[in-house]
Symmetry: C2
Subunit: 123 residues, 2 copies
DNA sequence: TTATTAACGCAACAGTGTTGCAAATTAAAT
DNA sequence: ATTTAATTTGCAACACTGTTGCGTTAATAA
């Protein structure tokens, strides 16, 4: 009946989360446990389909957040914030720094992650 | 006679490289092969001492580049560029985007990595 | 119903990075 | 010069992230 049960559930998790989720966090939050590989593949698909985007955290671990207004072409100029206290990564979609590069650079993607203390932890 | 042979050699490698080097690349370039752990520890020390800084590449792998003007406190507001063709990561030290964050965010570090095609590969 | 496609699980693997302990090397003190 | 202390190194073992291949199950289309 239900198609791609895990994949849909993973999409729901990411959509309903206000912070970006790592593979590990997704695995923990899934009620019906599934194979690690299944999650990786679902995440790849969801990225392909333009539903989520990847953020590489300061420790090198990938986290995933919902896209707003991406189709096939991702455009994530926005800033991400990684809290060193609670380890959360959030999208600051309204913040899109602009800068000009020297001649010859062709930018395809950008990964901007600031780290420090988030408002919740610094309050 | 020579103190911390490996550590100094690693520092030399990074200082003389125009691109940021990964652990793997450093290991290959070392004439006298040494243990993986030794390299990791040397890199940690060199970061502590303010000689190098870490850039997390888009694939989550750490790369290391020389610092210019850092002591203990690293300040790397500058942009990094990761080429998807030749896999090189370079520091664009002159490019320092500024933007203001909402109230409550305390920024300690920033990791800005643009990916695309570098001037050499796009020429 | 059958054929095709997508999703899943399992096993195995490669790579990154960390920790503990012991040996060796370097620097300092007697 | 000999002993002591502090660094540096090597080795083994481990945890974690991510990938690939293969066979199986489930869903969609013919």
């Amino acid at each position: 009946m239900i198609k791609s049960l895990n994949k849909n559930q993973i999409k729901e998790l990411i959509d309903n989360s206000d912070i970006a989720l790592s593979h590990q966090e997704i695995s923990k939050r899934l009620e019906r446990q599934c194979d690690r590989v299944t999650i990786y593949r679902a995440l790849d698909k969801l990225m392909e389909e333009g539903f989520i985007h990847r953020i590489v955290d300061v420790d090198g671990v990938s986290k995933f957040a919902a896209c707003h207004g991406c189709t096939k072409n991702h455009h994530h100029q926005h800033v991400h914030f990684s809290c060193s206290v609670c380890s959360s990564v959030t999208c600051l979609e309204e913040i899109e720094p602009d800068f000009s590069l020297p001649e010859g650079y062709q930018v395809q993607e950008m990964n901007i992650t600031l780290s420090g203390v988030c408002p919740v932890c610094s309050a």
